[in-house]
């Protein structure tokens, strides 16, 4: 190899890099408390939501949040979504996307730092590490120790707890797709569907590996979001910043240094910020892709600054603009003004208008829907008395959880009568009443007969109304066709 090899930081040029263990030290402070809160809330939502009951009457499931794949329904409290209304779900996904942009534009990678499942579960797993192995130093000691009975026992215990968390994570997921109490019973008696077990297995394995062994590797190598987010940050976004203009030059044993007549910054080079970092980076190197902005280094540094009697905030949330101001000795704008910058407001505007539009349409939608298709083969049928009959395939959607009698009425076709399915033309009038089961689609053939005198193509309407006349119905415009030239 070359003579320059001694320049290389790591070992010689290799095709791969072994993961360096990260053993974050426990820290206390405001951001740590906030992380605890977010963890408890998000995990509680995840594990408990499927168990919330919601009474919808005898014709629909009583689970508050349920994705019913088999029947193609999505229940969310009092809202029920049918497959053709999937745009509501699409709207939610769009809102989630723009919501992430909004959060990123305002407070940087807050999603990564606090709410991302990978972060929450990694945090949980790291607490298990501390519970079993002790804090940072004990973990490192055990990591470096040769394999022996004590280490094996510790590892087995830790992995068992990881596995337990992983399995209950996978286990909770499937309850969103089926009635939770029933499925729980089936699950433990071994009678649940195979897909339930395979889903649990896959999610258990991924949780175990991602939370236990991959951790920050997922963020740095696998997740596309850090790249997108770093591209979205601008000089007005809050990022975790080491205020180097205040901290540098670092000085260990500051008193001694100043006595020696050398310049010294506030950073006492205690390395606490590095030791508490869950992704194992050094924030003093500046903003970097490995920083998920969890702000634990802020907690750690503040504590040290307090102990050495220096002002807090050597590491702090700060925008690049504010950093420039502070470097020149000015005072940064208050955070509320930072949050008010145009890009954030635009995202907020888009986000709220999509939300408002969805809420509005949700309030406007009818729960009785009509869909009429004119039979094309044959287009018309000449009847023995000379009248012309057209056939229509009618779908009536009753999207409420109770059965309904629905009246189909034809209007705008002179002398026409309608009948449906197996009933007869004799005695038919301009309306037909059909029973539609709760929460289902009725497909029925509607026969419409009219005198042969009239235009070749004539528009008329078919409307569906609840027979009790209480709810909003639906009307479709359709065509009645006659043979050319009439009779």
């Amino acid at each position: 190899m070359s003579s320059n090899n001694d320049l290389l930081v790591d070992s010689a040029l290799g095709v791969y890099q072994k993961r360096r263990g990260v053993f974050p030290k426990i820290v206390s402070g405001n951001f740590r408390r906030f992380k605890w809160l977010v963890m408890v809330v998000t995990l509680a939502i995840y594990y408990l939501t499927p168990w919330i009951r919601w009474d919808r009457g005898p014709y629909a499931p009583d689970q508050a949040v349920l994705v019913d794949m088999a029947h193609r329904r999505f229940y969310f409290f009092q809202i029920e979504i049918w497959p053709h209304e999937f745009y509501y779900v699409a709207g939610l996904l769009v809102m989630a996307g723009i919501g992430l942009f909004l959060v990123t534009s305002a407070v940087g990678r807050a999603w990564c730092g606090y709410a991302c499942p990978q972060t929450v579960w990694t945090d949980l797993f790291q607490h298990v590490d501390r519970l079993v192995d002790g804090d940072r130093n004990a973990q490192i000691r055990l990591h470096n120790a040769p394999w022996g009975p004590a280490k094996i026992a510790r590892r087995l215990l830790k992995w068992s707890i990881w596995l337990l968390i992983a399995a209950s994570t996978g286990g909770a997921w499937i309850f969103y797709f089926s009635d939770a109490p029933t499925l729980a019973g089936q699950l433990f008696s071994g009678t649940a569907a195979g897909v339930a077990y395979s889903t649990i297995f896959v999610l258990t394995v991924t949780t175990f590996i991602f939370g236990g062994f991959m951790r920050e590797q997922v963020c740095i190598y696998m997740c596309p979001w850090p790249r997108i987010q770093t591209a979205m940050l601008d000089e007005k976004s809050l990022i975790v910043t080491y205020k180097d203009w205040r901290g540098e030059p670092r000085a260990r044993g500051k008193k001694q240094v100043t006595e020696d007549g050398l310049p010294a910054g506030d950073c006492i080079d205690c390395n606490q910020c590095v030791q508490v970092c869950p992704t194992g980076i050094d924030i003093r190197d500046g903003a970097q892709i490995g920083c998920i902005t969890c702000a634990l280094c802020i907690d750690a540094c503040d504590k040290m600054m307090e102990q050495v009697g220096r002002p807090r905030g050597l590491i702090d949330y700060c925008t690049i603009d504010d950093a420039e101001i502070e470097k020149k000795g000015g005072t940064a704008k208050p955070i509320i003004e930072t949050l008010r910058h145009p890009r954030t407001l635009i995202y907020l505007g888009i986000w709220t208008s999509i939300g408002a539009a969805m809420v509005f349409t949700l309030g406007q939608r009818t729960r009785l829907d009509l869909n009429v298709q004119h039979d094309r083969n044959p287009v018309y049928v000449a009847l023995s008395d000379g009248a012309i009959r057209n056939n229509y395939t009618v779908k009536v959607r009753n999207m409420e959880a109770r059965p309904k009698d629905v009246t189909l009425r034809i209007e705008g076709l002179k002398g026409a009568v309608a009948w449906a399915g197996e009933s007869e033309r004799t005695g038919a009038t301009q309306s037909v009443t059909v029973p539609v089961a709760a929460d289902s689609v009725l497909k029925v053939r509607l026969f419409v007969a009219a005198p042969s005198e009239g235009p070749e193509r004539q528009d008329f309407t078919i409307s569906a109304l609840a027979a009790n006349g209480q709810e909003k119905g639906d009307t479709d415009e359709v065509v009645f066709e006659r043979p050319a030239g009439g009779q």
Binding site: L13, A382, S384
Partner: protein, 316 residues
């Protein structure tokens, strides 16, 4: 190459040592797990080609250790589908054809099964929409030569119409009157037939045809010209003409007769398929109720107040 390796000042990372027009690349190696995942995928891929048909040989390909074939999978899926259908097909087979419309679910299944079979066996004559054409009846309308209730339709499909060499087939034959009527007589009979359905106003010519019709035609077409279904004799008073209702077509029909043939399907199709075909044809819009029920319904109609009764129609 490696002579050019150096530490990049901005990042503190070593370069790989390549240089193109002053552009250098930093050495940021893959994480180890990534490399291992890649090797695992290679091993998976190799194992896959051993387990499943993959490697091309001279005349075929390796069969794979699992013995899987796409044809085998198809056969399996077809068998699963046949097993799934078996119970409902058995239920259709067990039910008398007249009772099928009474069973909502069974009837719906039979109609769909019939629709599929119709597309294979019947469309050649009756058309893909069952609308027929000249000489081939339209099955959508309310006019039936031999009857439009489930039993009659089933009988027609099973044994056919004038099917050669089939003893049980529906049989009747219209004579060719060409040699029997004098030209003037023929003209008056045509006029009379046209007057029956209002194609032509009653006049002297049609009046002259009436006695001839009474003497020659009523056995099959009925005294009132409304047809006799037992004989397959068409109703001449309605607006539906199988071979055309204009003067030339009727003259042709009377002179040379017509002889429409439908095969007996009992030798080609199984009993269940024929029942499903009957259900489909019955569902097209002209299906009639069984004769007894039909008579009762007809009697009840004049008394019923249409507005009050019709919405309650039993539609399922």
């Amino acid at each position: 190459m490696s002579e050019k390796q150096r530490i990049d000042e901005a990042t503190g990372t070593s370069t790989v040592g390549h240089e193109w027009d002053g552009i250098e690349e930093l050495n940021t190696p893959l994480p180890r797990w990534w490399l291992l995942t890649f090797y695992a995928c290679v091993i998976w891929g190799l194992a896959y080609t051993v387990m499943y048909p993959a490697w091309p040989m001279i005349s075929s390909a390796t069969a794979g250790m699992t013995g899987w074939t796409s044809r085998g999978q198809l056969a399996q899926e077809m068998k699963a589908e046949a097993d799934r259908r078996a119970p409902i097909l058995a239920a259709i087979a067990a039910k008398p054809v007249e009772q099928i419309p009474g069973d909502e679910k069974l009837y719906a299944t039979a109609v769909e099964g019939g629709r599929a079979a119709f597309k294979v066996h019947c469309v050649q004559c009756h058309g893909s929409g069952a609308a027929g054409s000249k000489g081939y009846p339209n099955l959508n309308d309310d006019d039936w030569l031999w009857g439009g209730d489930m039993g009659a339709i089933h009988q027609t499909i099973t044994h056919g119409i004038r099917a050669p060499e089939h003893g049980e087939t529906r049989m009747s034959q219209m004579p060719a009157f060409g040699g029997m009527f004098k030209p003037a007589e023929l003209t008056s009979v045509v006029a009379y037939v046209q007057s029956l359905s209002g194609e032509r106003k009653a006049d002297a010519a049609s009046a002259a045809g009436a006695p001839l019709f009474a003497a020659n035609c009523v056995q099959c077409h009925g005294v009132d010209g409304k047809g006799v279904r037992a004989m397959g004799g068409p109703n001449l008073t309605d607006k539906i003409w199988l071979y055309g209702g204009d003067e030339a077509s009727i003259r042709q029909t009377i002179t040379k007769s017509r002889y429409g043939v439908m095969p007996n399907w009992n030798e080609k199709l199984d009993a269940t398929t024929i029942k499903m075909l009957a259900s489909y044809v019955h569902s097209l819009g002209g299906g009639e109720a069984a004769p007894d029920a039909g008579a009762a319904a007809a009697a009840a109609v004049p008394a019923a107040t249409p507005a009050a009764e019709a919405p309650a129609a039993n539609v399922k």
